[in-house]
């Protein structure tokens, strides 16, 4: 059901992990529909020097996180803004129709991290809006 590229990025996710002293962190998604994505950005000057992600979601969610981080790594903030979910999907040789929403999350997570960065540094990034789905820290854990 997934392309070889998707499977490759699922199996060997690039940039998976955390950045201790991140310039911006964005967490998007909704535990209700399954997908949670967190992106860590290390920005120096105007350049994304490093990027890491963590994802709770399906194969497509993991693969799009991985690919999206690949696409923004080393780019300027402005170039990163141009990385759309469509670009991510194309880079993965496509996704099944029911999985398109997972790729949207990757775009949103990067935007959310950029927003966090912009807030912390009091700057404005062209075309960047406040993330609607930033759920921030997860604080409630039901015991099972």
């Amino acid at each position: 059901m997934y392309t070889e590229k998707v499977m490759d990025h699922f199996k060997n996710p690039r940039n998976m992990g955390e950045i201790e002293d991140a310039s911006g962190i964005g967490t998007v998604g909704n535990a209700k529909c399954g997908d949670i994505m967190r992106v860590f950005l290390k920005i120096e000057g105007d350049v994304i020097e490093d990027v890491k992600f963590k994802t709770f979601g399906c194969g497509a969610a993991v693969a799009t996180s991985s690919m999206a981080t690949e696409l923004v790594k080393g780019k300027t903030v402005k170039e990163a803004m141009a990385v759309t979910n469509k670009a991510v999907m194309e880079a993965l040789d496509g996704l099944p129709p029911v999985k398109v929403h997972c790729s949207l999350l990757a775009e949103e997570a990067i935007h959310a991290a950029l927003w966090d960065y912009a807030q912390k540094h009091n700057i404005e990034i062209d075309g960047l809006k406040e993330p609607k789905a930033d759920i921030g820290e997860h604080d409630s854990f039901e015991e099972i």
């Binding site: 699922f10 399954g34 967190r38 994802t55 399906c58 854990f141 099972i144």
Partner: protein
């Protein structure tokens, strides 16, 4: 990935070689239409008679009470819509549960749109209905109780005999979706007061595209599929002769070997549950620990998502299934997992492993080993796990 370990026998099973051998002559050689007059067709007729007898024997029914259908889904649709239509003068109230298969649930939802009232019984955390709640929900206009024999996701076996007694006491027709139970656990329609029972061939190493509906003699149930006079005028359409033969053969093999297979499977199942519980943290067993199908194991693994788990297992040659939203085709995780009280994010990380009588201990050991690694890897990736670990500190 050289060897496949198939642990999704609740989804479908491998056709038994011996069953296929019995079916073979009815494809090219004995292809006659069983409704025909000439003697060439009598081979087909005889074959159907034998299959019907085997199926009847397997649930303690009479031959004339077995009607072949296209599968479990058609049987469920026929039973429920049929009773709704035939007994509408008595009332429009039906009792079922929150954990039925979609073949029952979506049929009930369809009837709701036609003005029927449906009570969806709750289940407890193990997936069991409450007999008192059932009895209390009976009304003068209740025409049908439809409760599954065993659940397809969490494997819980419902108290069918008690349900049958309640139904009988109140003179209400009792239908059970036994698609998962048929051929796996003993069924006796008379002892259990079952009036209608659905089953499907491909869940018991029989062929796909064939099933049956048991209809107790005295039940008035009109046709659901109208047309020719097949199946004593109750189910029209040229008979799927090889399919029927295969269903009969599979029913016989399943019943002849049930005791022995169940004993073996329960041992395997319990071993698998034990090993998983021993090797992986933060998990929850879904379904009742003992009142469950001999071949069903179902756990939630916290902080990870089911589809990722499935794909990772698949890469190791292990076939399994999940009730996660990402595999369910809708935005919600399985209604069964929600009904037993799991919060959404935990329901997401469910894994169902359903064994066959051919599953070996070595296979299970391999699965546990892989599972351990995969769960670790996925948790390392999971923002939820990260938050959890931080909160612990």
């Amino acid at each position: 990935m050289s060897k496949i370990i198939y642990l999704d026998n609740a989804a479908t099973t491998q056709l038994d070689e011996n069953v296929f051998e019995e079916m073979k002559p009815y494809f090219v050689e004995h292809y006659g239409n069983p409704s025909s007059v000439y003697s060439v067709a009598s081979e087909s007729k005889k074959a159907i008679d034998i299959a019907r007898e085997r199926v009847a024997n397997s649930i303690g029914a009479e031959v004339s009470e077995i009607y072949f259908t296209n599968g479990g889904t058609e049987s469920d649709n026929w039973a429920i819509k049929g009773i709704a239509e035939n007994y509408v003068n008595k009332g429009k109230h039906i009792i079922t549960t929150k954990i039925e298969h979609h073949a029952v649930l979506h049929t009930c939802e369809y009837l709701e749109k036609q003005g029927y009232e449906i009570t969806y019984l709750n289940v407890d955390e193990d997936g069991l209905i409450n007999i008192e709640e059932l009895e209390k929900s009976i009304r003068p206009d209740t025409i049908l109780i439809s409760i599954m024999f065993a659940n397809n996701e969490i494997g819980t076996i419902e108290p069918i005999k008690e349900i049958g007694e309640i139904a009988k006491k109140h003179n209400i027709i009792f239908h059970t979706d036994a698609v998962q139970a048929f051929g796996h656990v003993p069924i006796h329609v008379n002892e259990m007061n079952i009036d209608l029972l659905s089953a499907s061939g491909h869940k018991v190493n029989g062929p796909k595209g064939i099933g049956f509906l048991y209809i107790r003699k005295n039940i008035k149930l009109k046709s659901f599929i109208h047309g020719g006079a097949q199946e004593r005028q109750r189910r029209a359409g040229t008979e799927n002769v090889p399919g029927i033969v295969g269903l009969g053969a599979a029913a016989k093999i399943a019943c002849d070997n049930m005791e022995e297979r169940a004993k073996h499977l329960i041992k395997q199942r319990d071993y698998l549950m034990e090993q998983i519980e021993k090797n992986v943290d933060y998990i929850r067993l879904n379904g009742h620990r003992t009142k469950r199908l001999p071949n069903n194991v179902n756990f939630c693994f916290r902080f990870i998502e089911g589809e990722s788990l499935l794909i990772s297992l698949d890469m190791e040659g292990i076939c399994a299934s999940s009730g996660s939203a990402c595999t369910s085709g809708s935005l919600d995780p399985s209604h069964v997992l929600l009904a037993i009280g799991l919060p959404h994010e935990i329901a997401h990380g469910s894994l169902r492993l359903t064994l066959s009588h051919n599953t070996t201990k070595e296979e299970l050991d391999f699965v546990v080993e892989q599972l351990k690694d995969i769960v670790n890897r996925l948790r390392a990736m999971s923002p939820l796990y990260e938050d959890f670990v931080k909160a612990q500190k």
